[in-house]
């Protein structure tokens, strides 16, 4: 704030300016009084004041211009300033104009009232009276002089010189001179003995004298003393002139002087009447103009000072409105406005603090939310929250993993709306929706459905959410994909059963078989033909059944023991071709095989996998019965960012019944008359031990079979069955 320090205080400069204006105006006013010594400076004062007015006019003009520009730009506080200034100007101008008008009126009337016809007349009369009085005296003195000249006529120059003194004293003249026609002084007598040289007539007088023969005039002689000069001719041999100077009596001279002075003064005033009016009006106008201009200028400055805090306040308010809460308006004065500004600053600070707090709180909440979201996203369980209208509010990553749809993308939509887009999920979604609507408390339900990856089993747990007032505000559903878990449990149970069966049943089988054979061996010869035959038949039956039982128990033990004995890299297409080659010779069956180009490598036990393929192909052949087509394809697929090798196997047999589809991979489930029902269970077990999956592709129908089914009328029999196996592919780097 260095410039502020350099600037002189504005109040002091205004005060000085006003003092100067007042001084100059006072001086001009004094100069108008004629007697004043300042009268000589009048012109300069007039000029200085006029210049002062011009400077003030310039200042006011500059202020008005700047104000107009600010108003046009709609700057803060400019309109208030404009309004206050115009109000001030109107308030100042109106009375000033009225006072000015009446002052001018009074001035003009006052000056005019000094003069009137009567005084004019009286003045002229007075002057004429004095002139007449002096004229009379002059004529009288002329006659007296003529009488004196008469006395002097016919007397010699010497005699005249002697008599002149007497005559002068007799006549009461102050000086008497006798001179010749050529102007030579013959004799002279003066009341003052010191005056050696008499006052001689000038050329003009001589001229008049020669024309008229005598001369009389009132003239100031020496020291401005009024004298009556009379010159008359003296009749002698040589024409001579007698000049007599009569003093005007002091009283008369004074009176005449006074009259003349008054007359001249009056004449002068009368002549100057208009000039006087003009100069007074000029002075008055200047005074008014300067005062007004100075007042307006000061008004500008003071209003600007008053408005300054308001202006700052407006700026501050605008800043706060646009979100800048760090605005501190400077406190310019300790008045009401200053208090207002302080309150404003206080307010903005509080707003800023509150705003900061809100922001921090928001940040905190956001952090919390992000934290929770991270936790939710990393949960293995799917979590979907709903609002009061059962529209999805949030859903985590796991929900996507389980449903294979981006539930996140359906925020704001209800589950039923999803059903139309994802028909395969219709069943679980509808169930969940129904449960949501019905449940008033925490519910838990196991929901099974056929997803794109085959049968899936979900464990859903729902919690309706209530507000503090008790109204329902939404719900949360948490669900786990328990398919694998349940399957593992089942597998473990069956494995245990198989192991026990193998153990418990296999042991007595051999003694049974041996005993039956010994019975046959011992009793065959002792019995009669009929009996022996029956024995043999029975024994054979026992042995056969025991064999079959053994076989069954072997199967069980096969199922129970881990299949993945040794792991090597296998080219799956080669393996499939190898297995298929064994069945090619079968009459009536047509194999359609499609292999993707390149090596489709997996890691696994070739013996187990070969068994899988044998089982599946055998199943298919059994389903086909006499004549049919088996389609096999091996190709690479991508799923969940991982490479899988997919084997699909379709037959055109009677297909799988819908009610069996869920349980087809469980042990002891079979549609065939012969068979343990362990084939597909083992297949599934081996595939799962290899980290893969197998499911029934219910959607696939062979085209030609569809035609047959239509003609035969029994739809279900001729649908054909399809299996899809997916095994994790082995990258070349892993080889």
């Amino acid at each position: 704030m260095v410039p502020d320090k350099l600037k002189p205080p504005i109040g002091v400069s205004i005060f000085i300016l006003f003092a100067l204006i007042l001084l100059s105006l006072q001086l001009m006013s004094s100069a108008t009084q004629e007697s004043s010594e300042l009268s000589a400076m009048y012109s300069w004062l007039l000029l200085v004041n006029a210049l002062g007015s011009v400077v003030l006019l310039g200042l006011v003009g500059a202020n008005i211009y700047s104000l107009a520009r600010h108003t046009k730009r709609r700057e803060a506080g400019s309109r208030l300033t404009a309004r206050m200034v115009s109000l001030f100007v109107v308030l100042a101008l109106a009375p000033a104009a009225i006072v000015f008008y009446f002052s001018m009126q009074f001035l003009h009337q006052g000056i005019d009232s000094w003069f009137n016809v009567e005084i004019d007349r009286a003045m002229e009369d007075a002057l004429e009276l004095s002139q007449a009085s002096l004229d009379q005296r002059m004529r009288w003195h002329l006659r007296q002089a003529e009488q004196l000249a008469e006395k002097l006529s016919n007397s010699s120059e010497t005699l005249a010189t002697l008599e002149l003194e007497n005559l002068r004293e007799l006549a009461g003249a102050s000086e008497m001179t006798l001179f010749s026609r050529q102007g030579r002084i013959i004799a002279s007598s003066s009341i003052n003995p010191g005056d050696i040289l008499p006052s001689l007539p000038d050329e003009h007088t001589w001229l008049q004298l020669r024309q008229n023969g005598d001369y009389v005039a009132l003239a100031p002689v020496r020291d401005d003393e009024l004298m009556i000069r009379v010159i008359v001719s003296v009749k002698t041999k040589d024409p001579q002139y007698l000049q007599v100077l009569y003093p005007v009596p002091v009283r008369i001279a004074d009176l005449a002087d006074s009259v003349e002075f008054a007359f001249v003064r009056y004449q002068e005033m009368n002549f100057l009447r208009n000039s006087l009016k003009l100069s007074f009006s000029l002075a008055l106008s200047l005074v008014l103009l300067m005062s007004l201009l100075a007042a307006i200028w000061v008004a500008f400055i003071s209003i600007r000072n008053i408005i300054a805090p308001v202006k700052e306040l407006v700026k501050g308010t605008q800043a706060v409105a646009s979100g800048h809460y760090d605005q501190i308006v400077p406190v310019l004065a300790q008045d009401d406005l200053g208090f207002l500004v302080e309150s404003f600053n206080d307010m903005t600070q509080r707003i800023a603090r509150a705003h900061d707090e809100t922001r921090l709180a928001g940040l905190e909440v956001e952090n919390q939310r992000a934290y929770l979201e991270t936790i939710l996203a990393n949960l293995t369980a799917g979590v979907i929250s709903f609002d009061a209208d059962y529209k999805i509010r949030t859903a985590n990553q796991a929900a996507y993993r389980i449903f294979h749809i981006h539930v996140n993308h359906f925020i704001g939509r209800s589950l039923l709306e999803l059903v139309t887009d994802y028909s395969e999920l219709a069943e679980p979604l509808k169930s969940i929706q129904r449960l949501l609507e019905q449940a008033d408390d925490i519910w838990q339900q196991r929901i099974a459905f056929l997803g794109s990856n085959g049968r899936q089993e979900l464990l859903c747990r729902g919690t309706p959410l209530f507000s503090q007032e008790g109204s329902r505000v939404g719900a949360v559903v948490v669900f786990d994909d328990v398919t694998d878990l349940i399957q593992a449990q089942k597998n473990a149970a069956w494995g245990e059963v198989a192991r026990r069966l193998a153990h418990e049943i296999k042991n007595p089988l051999t003694p049974i078989q041996l005993s039956a054979e010994r019975l046959q061996h011992k009793l065959a010869d002792k019995l009669e033909v009929g009996d022996a035959e029956m024995l043999q038949r029975s024994t054979r039956t026992i042995v056969q059944q025991v064999e079959a039982m053994k076989e069954m128990v072997d199967d069980f033990s096969e199922y129970a023991k881990p299949s993945k004995k040794q792991t090597v890299s296998i080219d799956l297409s080669a393996l499939v071709q190898e297995v298929l080659a064994l069945y090619m010779a079968r009459p009536g069956v047509k194999f359609k095989a499609a292999y993707e180009a390149g090596r489709l490598m997996i890691k696994g036990d070739p013996v187990s996998l070969r068994q899988v393929l044998h089982n599946l192909v055998k199943n298919a052949l059994e389903a086909i019965d006499v004549q049919g087509v088996i389609e096999i394809s091996v190709h690479r697929v991508q799923k969940n960012n991982a490479d899988f090798i997919e084997i699909t196997l379709y037959d055109d047999g009677p297909g799988i019944k819908e009610e069996q589809m869920e349980k087809i991979f469980e042990p002891y489930v079979t549609t065939k008359a012969k068979g343990t029902g362990l084939g597909l269970a083992i297949v599934k077990k081996i595939i799962e031990e290899h980290g893969g999956a197998i499911w029934v592709d219910a959607s696939r129908r062979l085209p030609e079979m569809a035609d047959v089914s239509q003609s035969s009328g029994s739809r279900c029999d001729k649908v054909g069955a399809g299996f899809i196996i997916q095994l994790p592919a082995c990258n070349f780097e892993q080889l």
């Binding site: 009268s39 002096l134 003009h204 100031p220 002549f271 100057l272």
Partner: protein
């Protein structure tokens, strides 16, 4: 702007009409410096023509002051001319109503003269004789000198109310121009 131009035009017109209504003002008819003894004396002749307004003022008893100014200047090549000496003779002319006379007072000699006509009074002011201006010794022989003379109406001595008008009205522009002549030694 056109309004201002029109106003200026009218003003100039009025000015020229006022100025050319009748010829007035003082003209220096002749002026010379003569060596008289050891000093140069001025001999000059002027012609006074009063304007209507000035005559009117005079007849109403307002005294008019005239100043005869004479200067001797030294010519300088680079700088402005140097004023060596400046002499003034001041006259006061006033009408006396009581005596019906014009009185001239030479304030330089304090000589007072009365005239019954204005023409005679002005005539008496129109000649300047033997007004000693500068010593001969003050002038260097190798320098070039000028003399200048002017008769001025002293407007500052007019009565105050008349002054503002006198400053702007051509009726009161009565002063002569400077009459300049080369001074030969």
């Amino acid at each position: 702007m056109p309004v201002l131009a029109a106003f200026l035009y009218c003003f100039c017109l009025w000015w020229s009409i006022l100025a050319s209504a009748d010829e007035f003002g003082v003209v220096v008819k002749s002026a010379e410096m003569k060596l008289q003894g050891d000093s140069y004396v001025l001999a000059a002749e002027f012609d006074y023509q009063l304007s209507m307004r000035a005559k009117e003022a005079l007849e109403n008893g307002i005294p008019l002051y005239w100043v005869v100014q004479v200067k001797v200047l030294q010519h300088r090549d680079i700088l402005w001319n140097k004023t060596l000496v400046e002499g003034t003779i001041r006259y006061k002319i006033q009408y006396h109503a009581l005596l019906n006379m014009y009185r001239i007072k030479n304030e330089y000699t304090s000589e007072v003269t009365n005239f019954s006509t204005l023409a005679a009074a002005l005539d008496s002011m129109s000649k300047v004789r033997n007004f000693s201006v500068i010593d001969k010794a003050a002038l260097a022989p190798d320098q070039h000198y000028f003399a200048a003379v002017q008769v001025k109406l002293d407007r500052d001595s007019l009565p105050l109310p008349l002054r503002p008008t006198a400053y702007v009205s051509p009726q009161w522009f009565l002063s002569s121009a400077w009459y300049v002549w080369s001074l030969t030694n």
